[in-house]
């Protein structure tokens, strides 16, 4: 089975998926074209490019892009390629370009709106097809760029829904990220961590909403953290820092994970509710909640704080944990290699203790020395290895199949289950984007 719409439709069934969806290089090229280089993909946050000339590079599908803030304050996204001879324009991942981009090869200059600013010698072009006054001499922009509350996305295709429609119910992700700040704004903390997974990008996305994995995958970390937590409490006569509970929670037995409900939104986005409400009544939390309610009013403040959203997938490029201010952007490098950019945000106006609590989570779960993702990445690698074999063709997504409910185009897993609904939902969306024409996805 290779390529073509006819074959894709046979690879995704309602309750199981063929292994080639994850391992076939031709299918990977096709999904780069139809998914990552067509849909709205996350580029970066406004705080990464604060000043005119600030730029940050990001890969969208197979295309290296530059996000840059112009002298007019606008954030734009261009292909990272000099139109003259095709050299990469920015070879640093980020920086400030000064007054304009300058290509290192022949010193052609470009304004931050993409227009050509100057070339060292303008003679010699009369009568040629090169017209320096026309737009085609400038940088090629992403077909569409838009932001939602300071989070910038680009689509490399002129077609498809606008960003607001595409995000739909998933806008709550960014509302939660921003509204949790008493000052109503967030900013990135330093640079991101960048980790490479030796597996297909979809294996990572699926894991994020798979509640039947943590107690098995992360047992060792949960047990170890729980033991030290107890020792510290005995030794010091007070509770261990809250951060220990972030990882000792992994020893929660599997039957207790059924209470984390999942929701499937149009276009493949998914929510995982519950898990870490993060509303202990310690003095730091109380101070923070008071500040937030002062900023938003009692009712709205309470609504923001009580939104129980542990994990959100914004298909196909983001995994976000709003209560802990973490955002992971997915950059597929190849059929079996995936880069994640892991960002941490600071809630402006929140007490230092709240920042540090989330920073501890960032360290324990998402740093390059993580004791949590160490086993996830190991399992992803093993999945990709197994799926590359002829030991079996199908991946099972059967748990609670047939018991999902739908209201107004949104899917809900059966309450009190560890339904694999989000995994089925994502693959149905995937099949729709890939042109399988079963009408299930890409709505």
């Amino acid at each position: 089975m290779r390529n073509g719409d006819r074959d894709i439709s046979r690879l995704v069934e309602p309750d199981r998926v063929h292994r080639l969806c994850y391992t076939d290089p031709d299918i990977f090229e096709q999904e780069m074209e139809r998914i990552h280089e067509s849909l709205w993909v996350y580029v970066g946050h406004k705080s990464q490019v604060k000043e005119p000339g600030d730029y940050y590079t990001a890969q969208i599908g197979r295309q290296p892009m530059i996000m840059v803030r112009g002298k007019d304050g606008e954030v734009r996204v261009f292909y990272n390629r000099c139109p003259h001879r095709g050299a990469m324009l920015c070879s640093d991942r980020s920086g400030n370009a000064g007054h304009r981009f300058r290509c290192s090869y022949h010193a052609w200059m470009y304004n931050f709106d993409g227009t050509i600013a100057s070339i060292p010698a303008t003679s010699g072009y009369d009568g040629t097809r090169m017209n320096l006054a026309e737009g085609d001499a400038g940088l090629k922009p992403a077909a569409r760029v838009d932001d939602y509350r300071g989070f910038y996305f680009a689509s490399l295709s002129p077609d498809g829904p606008d960003l607001d429609t595409f995000l739909g119910g998933a806008k709550l992700t960014f509302d939660q990220l921003v509204d949790r700040a008493p000052d109503g704004d967030v900013e990135v903390v330093g640079d991101c961590f960048r980790m490479i997974q030796k597996s297909n990008w979809k294996i990572f996305l699926e894991n994020q909403l798979d509640v039947s994995h943590p107690s098995a995958t992360h047992e060792s970390t949960g047990v170890a953290a729980g033991q030290v937590e107890r020792e510290m409490e005995k030794r010091d006569g007070r509770k261990a820092p809250l951060s220990y509970s972030f990882i000792s929670a992994f020893k929660t037995p599997i039957e207790d994970w059924v209470k984390f409900d999942t929701v499937g939104h149009p276009y493949g986005h998914c929510f995982l509710a519950g898990y870490m409400g993060l509303r202990p009544q310690d003095p730091d939390t109380v101070e923070y909640e008071t500040l937030l309610k002062q900023a938003h009013g009692e009712e709205k403040g309470e609504a923001i704080l009580s939104t129980d959203l542990h994990h959100v997938l914004v298909y196909p490029s983001l995994s976000v944990q709003p209560p802990l201010q973490q955002l992971r952007a997915i950059r597929p490098l190849g059929v079996d290699r995936t880069l994640t950019e892991i960002w941490h945000f600071r809630l402006k106006g929140a007490p230092e203790a709240i920042y540090r609590r989330a920073l501890d989570y960032y360290y324990l779960v998402n740093s390059p020395s993580t004791m949590v993702n160490a086993d996830d990445l190991h399992n992803f690698w093993k999945c990709h290895q197994g799926l590359s074999t002829e030991g079996g063709d199908w991946v099972s997504l059967h748990r609670n199949y047939g018991s999902d409910s739908e209201r107004d185009g949104v899917l809900y897993s059966a309450p009190g289950t560890m339904s694999e609904m989000p995994l089925r939902h994502m693959m149905q969306a995937w099949a729709g984007y890939m042109g399988a024409g079963n009408g299930a996805g890409g709505r």
Binding site: V189, G190, D191, F193, R194, M195, I196, K198, T217, E219, S220, T221, V223, A224, A225, Q227, V228, E231, M232, Y244, I247, L339, H344, E352, Y355, R356, L359, Y362, Y363, S367, P368, S369, T370, M371, N373, A374, D375, L377, H378, N379, W381
Partner: protein, 183 residues
């Protein structure tokens, strides 16, 4: 950031000259660093914990120009309690990523004493190279150490670590898989 600024941020002062450091101190410090490398390579975790003062810390910054570890993202930022979690987690029979277990091999060199206090506490810089055998392949790490050592007794190599800063050459990444043990 220019390299000189990065060095300044890392708090690196001009080292003492050979004439300012007595040979015994130099030998004792080198012996201590070699011993730490051997403990790590051999996985002697009780001995590892005993290398640090009770408030000791192992720090691997996420950027070359990082001046402090507190309150900012780091690759490693661990006190003894977090080290105990890591040891128990990595040695748990269900630490899946330790199947097969990884192995480390360190070389430590270029040992330069930066300062010696009147009480014998000292700051020492060195370079390391570490090869890791991971899932039947070898990968490499290189960088520099900066140890703040507390004099602990009179025996040769009798120091304990108050702070070990580890600057990885490629601190900004990207990282091909996780760093599971201290380097």
């Amino acid at each position: 950031m220019p390299d000189a600024d990065a060095r300044a941020a890392a708090g690196a002062a001009a080292p003492l000259t050979a004439a300012q450091v007595d040979a015994g101190t130099q030998r004792a410090v080198e012996a201590f660093l070699y011993r730490q490398a051997e403990i790590l390579d051999d996985g002697r975790w009780d001995d590892w914990l005993a290398l640090f003062t009770p408030d000791g810390r192992y720090w691997m910054p996420a950027r070359a120009d990082q001046a402090q570890g507190d309150g900012v993202p780091n690759i490693f930022w661990e006190d003894l309690d977090l080290m105990r979690v890591r040891i128990r987690r990595n040695t748990h029979p269900h630490a899946w990523s330790q199947s097969p277990p990884n192995r480390l091999s360190h070389v430590v060199s270029n040992v330069v004493i930066e300062s010696v206090a009147a009480n014998g506490d000292l700051t020492v810089r060195s370079k390391f190279h570490c090869s890791e055998y991971l899932r039947y392949e070898v990968r490499h790490f290189a960088g520099k150490y900066r140890h703040e050592l507390v004099k602990d007794g009179d025996g040769e190599g009798a120091y304990r670590i108050r702070l070990q800063r580890v600057d990885l050459l490629n601190a900004e990444g990207p990282f091909d898989y996780v760093i599971q043990w201290w380097l």
